[in-house]
């Protein structure tokens, strides 16, 4: 839960003075201006993609009005309400910036010609000297499908580099791999409107209330119908606070609890044998694999009282329709794929997946987190969720793009590996769009060195992010409502973003900048776009016949239906809100069980580091905070990070509430305020991750990644917390290290096909 003005600014009297209640946003003087028009669009923030109207007057966005979309029914969270204030924000970048004096110099205003010529000339020289792969593209998922698609095409056709990946890698790539393995297709199988049909909701590693506030309303609708809520989380979040049952799990040990619940379901004879026999493969191995996980064993590993595990298994197992919702809490792990598969095992054994209001669902974090991972900006993917190693997929895409198939690069490095390659000098230049690596990547001292050592760092952004501060060239682009396009929300619903304003000053739309770069690189014939709609139509063609088939989704259909769910293979197809109702996407139509064993996190408490540090979100901020930390209302609620710890731990260390303390891990230390409250496990520390520079929790986090998905382990590492007057320890007695990036399974470069294990190859996915 959030620390806010009540705690941070106790001296301010908020009850009797309006002037002190947050800063008014810019342009507030025009408060009495009535709108000329309401532009229908969706929020720019999280994966729910709430519908909203923007109030426009004199070509300027001046406010927001509720819009009754099927998934948010007119509600908005505080981020959504103030999202529009980014448009005329004084911090907006309005002209290109260039570091003229080289690395030591300052970022100075430049013309577009000067900036783009400089970039193109440097890229040409670098590629001539070090090969095409010396340049990388690091993209993002908080932008429209058309832009994500263009980034993938620009890397592979414009630059001809194999290194393109995106920040969705840090978000939920482990869930994507798990769904592809188990079901043969990676998408949430249900629309949110199905949630009220469930009789039992099991939330695993998700603070739904703060991260997806609007999705919470669907949970409450289910509870109004009598549904039970079970929450597995190391913190008593606002979600866990009102749950029927809270399982306070030790960070990184969820598999022990999930397996013990499945074992209890087996012993209570609640397995749906008919479903398991008819629709799944591999149950016997899983039944045997979970047998050692008694409730007592779960208590020993995960610290959850055994009786709560039994009670949870019973509540879950006895519900006719049960739904598991999981998110970053289990996905940000060095065994994130296994965590998600353990959830899927539970739902499959109960025969839930493919039925209305039941099964499993992932809560995708980024605005276009679903779309961003299927339109071809992932290291191993081509548009339409095609795999870059698959010969027929390569031929198809090469033909759509009009290039010889031999020119299409092979799989490149995943985002965390890209940083290693930058640090190692193999990658000389990087184009960053829609990402803030300095806040978002783990162990950011290494990230900073890697970025500073680049010959040329180019950043596209509309605010000067912590990453843009390190750039050699910054290109000012548009915020979401200064352009149009589509996004795919966490349900797989494709929605339409409409333009409400023009980019300010000299800022340009992202796709115009990328197309112009391609033209100057001499590849303009492949990027002849005059509008976003042309990009969208090309994306539809490129996805035709793929797993994520957008071929039949027109903008008109999106408007008429309130969004269209992929797959939608033809224009007369209504889209597919519920998946797997008759068959799974594997060739034999059956879902796969995978036996999952508990593996400890890469780093466990030990020596001088007795705590487990976990990081997460607060409701007022979005991802790296580059947008929300600039919005007065949001930032005044949570202006700086804090560390939450249990009163018992605090008493032992002599720490009092509100005191500034030091948190230390083997990678670094930071000072921040302590919030002492019994809403967290006594062996766990929590720090929110939205802040930069000395306030970034990613100075401390562990860069270990999941072997398949390459998702970093943000959610657990060993840490110490101490008073400022205690001298920092000598750093001798380290934590227990189970593996490091160096001893982890093989990283980039892969041989062709190496990154695919048989189940994926069979399912032609991921």
């Amino acid at each position: 839960m959030s620390v806010n003005k009540d705690i941070f600014q106790p001296a301010r009297d908020f009850n009797y003075d309006f002037q002190s209640a947050g800063q008014p946003p810019p342009g507030w003087a025009r408060a009495d201006r009535l709108p000329d028009a309401l532009v229908p669009t969706h929020c720019c923030f999280c994966g729910v993609q709430c519908g909203m109207y923007l109030r426009v007057a004199d070509g300027q966005v001046m406010g927001v009005e509720p819009r009754d979309s099927p998934h948010n029914r007119g509600s908005l969270c505080p981020k959504g309400v103030v999202a529009y204030q980014q448009v005329n924000h004084p911090d907006r970048l309005t002209s290109p910036l260039l570091r003229r004096g080289g690395k030591g110099g300052r970022l100075e205003r430049a013309t577009w010609n000067e900036a783009l010529d400089y970039v193109v000339q440097r890229w040409r020289a670098l590629q001539a000297a070090h090969g095409r792969d010396a340049i990388a593209v690091y993209s993002g998922s908080s932008m429209a499908n058309e832009k994500c698609y263009l980034m993938g095409k620009f890397a592979r056709v414009g630059l001809g580099t194999r290194h393109i990946d995106y920040n969705g890698r840090l978000c939920m790539s482990s869930a994507a791999v798990a769904y592809a393995r188990a079901f043969g297709l990676d998408r949430s199988p249900l629309p949110m409107t199905d949630i009220p049909l469930a009789e039992c909701l099991l939330v695993v590693g998700s603070n739904v209330a703060e991260c997806f506030p609007i999705a919470t309303n669907w949970l409450w609708r289910a509870r109004d119908n009598g549904a039970r809520l079970i929450v597995i989380d190391p913190r008593e979040t606002p979600t866990a606070r009102t749950a029927d049952l809270w399982l306070p799990v030790r960070p990184g040990t969820d598999i022990a609890v999930l397996n013990a619940m499945l074992r209890q379901v087996v012993h209570d004879d609640l397995v749906d044998e008919a479903y398991v026999g008819e629709r799944t493969v591999g149950w016997e191995a899983v039944r045997a694999a979970v047998e050692p996980y008694t409730p007592e064993e779960a208590e020993r590993i995960a610290g959850v009282p055994a009786e709560r595990v039994v009670a949870a298994a019973r509540l879950y197992g006895q519900a006719a329709r049960s739904l598991i919702l999981h998110a970053r809490g289990i996905e940000h792990s060095s065994h994130g794929v296994d965590n998600c598969l353990a959830c899927i095992n539970l739902a499959l054994a109960r025969g839930q997946v493919g039925k209305p209001g039941s099964g499993t669902t992932m809560l995708t974090g980024q605005g276009n987190g679903q779309g961003g991972r299927e339109v071809g900006q992932k290291a191993n993917q081509l548009p339409g969720y095609r795999h870059i190693d698959q010969p027929e997929d390569r031929r198809f895409i090469a033909e759509v793009w009009g290039i010889p198939v031999e020119e299409l690069p092979w799989e490149g490095a995943a985002a965390p590996e890209m940083v290693q390659l930058m640090a190692g000098g193999q990658i000389k230049s990087c184009l960053v769009a829609c990402s803030n690596l300095m806040v978002s990547l783990p162990d950011n001292a290494v990230v900073q060195r890697a970025l500073q050592d680049l010959d040329l760092l180019v950043v596209l952004d509309f605010f000067l992010s912590e990453t843009a501060e390190l750039a050699d060239v910054v290109l000012p682009c548009s915020v979401w409502c200064e352009d149009e396009g589509t996004t795919t929300n966490m349900e797989g619903r494709v929605v339409k973003i409409n333009q409400a304003a023009e980019p300010p000053g000299e800022a340009r739309r992202d796709w115009e900048i990328i197309a112009e770069l391609a033209r100057r690189l001499g590849r303009g014939q492949y990027f002849p776009y005059r509008s976003v709609r042309e990009l969208w139509d090309e994306l539809r063609r490129a996805s035709r016949g793929g797993v994520a088939d957008y071929a039949g989704i027109t903008w008109e259909k999106i408007d008429a239906q309130g969004g269209v769910f992929w797959p939608c293979p033809s224009e007369d197809h209504p889209g597919t809100p519920r998946l797997f109702t008759e068959r799974f996407a594997h060739p034999d139509g059956k879902a796969r069980f995978f036996p999952i064993a508990y593996t400890p996190p890469a780093e466990e408490p030990g020596g001088e580091y007795p705590f487990r540090l976990t990081s997460g979100r607060v409701v007022y901020h979005y991802l790296s905070g580059n947008q929300t930390r600039r919005l007065g209302f949001l930032n005044s609620q949570a202006p700086e990070p804090w560390v939450e710890l249990h009163p018992r731990a605090a008493a032992r260390l002599g720490i009092s509430d509100g005191e500034r303390v030091r948190v230390r891990t083997p990678r670094g230390a930071m000072e921040l305020k302590a919030v002492v409250a019994p809403t967290i496990r006594p062996d766990t520390l929590f720090i929110p991750f939205h802040y930069g520079h000395a306030q970034a929790v990613n100075q401390l986090t562990n860069p270990a990644v999941d072997p398949t998905a390459k998702i970093p382990e943000y959610k657990v590492c060993a840490a110490a917390v101490e008073r400022l007057d205690v001298p920092p320890g000598p750093g001798v007695a380290g934590p227990r290290v189970n593996f490091t990036p160096a001893t982890a399974p093989k990283m980039f470069p892969y041989a062709v096909g190496e990154s695919r294990t048989p189940p994926e190859a069979e399912g032609k996915v991921y």
């Binding site: 705690i7 009797y16 509600s75 505080p78 506030p213 606002p238 009282p305 009670a311 018992r648 409250a677």
Partner: protein, 207 residues
Amino acid sequence: MAPRTLFVDPSRCIGCRACEAACRECDSHKGESMVMVDFVDRAFSVATQPTVCMHCEDPVAPCAQVCPVMAILITPDGVVQQAEPSRCIACRNCVYACPFGVPKLDAQARLMKKCNLCYDRTVRGLTPWCAQACPTQALWYGDYETFVSQRRGRAVHHTVFGAQEVRTRVYHVLAEAYPKLDVVALLEAARAEVGRPERGREEAWVL
């Protein structure tokens, strides 16, 4: 049909302050929030509580009763308006009189301000901004019958302060008297099964 009004259910409140952000968007007092969200006691819980004007009905709103210049007017449908700017003398009587701590004095404008149930929106049949935005519908706008048919909890609109009882237009939602699920019994049964009949071993997770 009963009149549409606000229902405040703190058990659903996630403390996100969407209501505060949304209240600031209202045309009648743009930039200022008339809703407050507070932690009940952050040292023990993440529980939060939204406070809106309760629009007292009986006795007639205390804020209006104590106003020496009759600046606080009440519409025929029972909505207590914020002070009329041409009359308000910024004496703060209303601030002290309100049993719920709602009216606020804007020292610069020398004017009492408070929630007027988004009168500009509600007269047109729209929902007040706070309840419109509220992600969990902890603030819910509608009539009593619809509430009872769709939601859990007991809606009450009588609050007792010592000897005085106030009936309000806005409802508070209390927990159900008899919860449908007996979690304690469920845990007791499970506890016996895992061979741990005594209570108080709940905190296996203590360091």
